[in-house]
């Protein structure tokens, strides 16, 4: 095939199709601001494919983000989206869910937003089994503000606020979610696009506090500062270092700067959601005088 034809993408009479992600994006905001090789956009493809395959009712699906590069996801998705303040995506989502229990509410944010400033909210929403799907794009750093150390930064990684390397013990997010009571806990990377799509779909179909951690490269701040190459080099590393271990003990899935990356679904269990517990409890206390709220 001639070079000219390829470069012009002259597909000889073939109809131009639209990228399957397009109907789910606020087109006027595209192109997005993410850096070349940033993994966040890849997760958005998987998420939108999952809502398409799950045939989710888009009028009953809301997405809530905090602040950060990942926090911009809510602003790009053409759903009922809420871009809240830093760290407060989960309490906002809790209010949204409880005031309109019919909604399926997804929180989509970064590791700094969800586990540093917002860590306490995460713990309590999981403990109460609030009916939310929480998606964390973990790039091991604060991307938006210039690469400060995050609660997830591995020991030894250099960051603007840890110029001689990080010595703080990082949090293992699946372990935290499991210990706090999440009903579904999974980890994938942006290499695992098919598995991640399936995981989103599965989690969307479940109830309770569900948590998905997605490892994604931040080439501009995390990789460059640690001489880990470009985005694509990191995704290749994910491919090489990942080991699938469904049902793994979450105590054993911690991450280092190098070393294996355990992926899969670690927790899948049932517990009454906060609303179910409230209804059951008040039903017992007040008997017929109580009418259940939100099903």
């Amino acid at each position: 095939m001639s070079e000219a034809i390829q470069d012009d993408q002259d597909l000889s009479g073939m109809p131009m199709m639209d990228n399957p992600v397009m109907p789910y994006l606020r087109q006027e905001r595209i192109p997005h601001i993410w850096c070349p090789g940033c993994g966040i956009g890849t997760t958005v493809n998987c998420f939108t494919r999952a809502i398409e395959e799950a045939a989710s009712d888009l009028d009953k699906l809301a997405i809530v983000s905090g602040i950060g590069c990942t926090g911009r996801v809510a602003g790009y998705l053409n759903l009922d989206s809420f871009h809240t303040t830093h760290g407060r995506a989960i309490p906002f989502a809790t209010g949204l869910k409880l005031s309109n229990p019919e909604l399926s509410v997804v929180v989509y944010s970064g590791d700094g937003d969800l586990f540093a400033i917002g860590g306490n909210h995460f713990m309590h929403a999981a403990r109460r089994n609030m009916d939310l799907l929480v998606v964390c794009v973990n790039n091991f750093t604060y991307g938006m503000t210039g690469g400060q150390v995050a609660p997830t930064t591995p020991i030894g990684a250099t960051q603007t606020t840890m110029p001689y390397g990080n010595f703080e013990n990082p949090a293992s997010l699946p372990f935290l979610a499991d210990a706090a009571g999440a009903t579904f806990v999974a980890r994938w990377t942006v290499y695992h696009v098919r598995q991640l799509t399936r995981c989103f779909k599965e989690a969307l179909g479940k109830k309770g506090f569900r948590f998905i951690e997605i490892l994604a490269p931040c080439p501009t701040l995390f990789l460059r500062r640690n001489r880990l190459g470009d985005g694509v080099d990191m995704v290749r590393t994910y491919k090489e270092k990942s080991v699938l271990r469904n049902g793994a003990d979450t105590k054993e899935v911690g991450l280092g700067l190098t070393g294996e990356i355990v992926v899969g679904t670690f927790v899948d269990r049932e517990r009454p959601t906060w609303l179910e517990s409230m209804n059951d409890h008040f039903g017992k206390v007040f008997g017929d005088r109580y009418s259940r709220y939100g099903g």
Binding site: M1, M14, V21, C35, G39, R194
Partner: protein, 100 residues
């Protein structure tokens, strides 16, 4: 029939928006049949963008589109492209000729 070992027929193709590509090479690196390569041209932002180097190898699996963080490429099977074309034509016809 020609020798199947030498003749391969593409089952699909890709659609690229060169102007939004940021040259990250995810699509090229993770295409299962290795059929994409960088263009010789630059786009307006100065990035090389993907083109089909060996178009016959494209299966239309769509993985490039799942990987692309910039929504600049996606692949589709010819049979799905045909379905989309027929559906779009039918929709257009019913708009042009409203019967009821």
């Amino acid at each position: 029939m020609s020798d199947p070992a030498t003749v391969r027929k593409a089952k699909g193709t890709v659609f690229v928006k060169p102007e939004v590509c940021k040259g990250c090479s995810y699509c090229i690196e993770f295409c299962p049949t290795d059929c994409l390569e960088f263009s010789r041209e630059f786009n307006a932002k100065g990035y090389h963008y993907p083109v089909l180097g060996t178009p016959d190898d494209c299966t239309g699996c769509g993985l490039c589109g799942l990987y692309c963080p910039d929504f600049a490429i996606f692949g589709a099977r010819f049979k799905d492209i045909e379905v989309a074309r027929v559906t779009a034509a039918a929709r257009q016809a019913s708009l042009d000729n409203p019967t009821s």
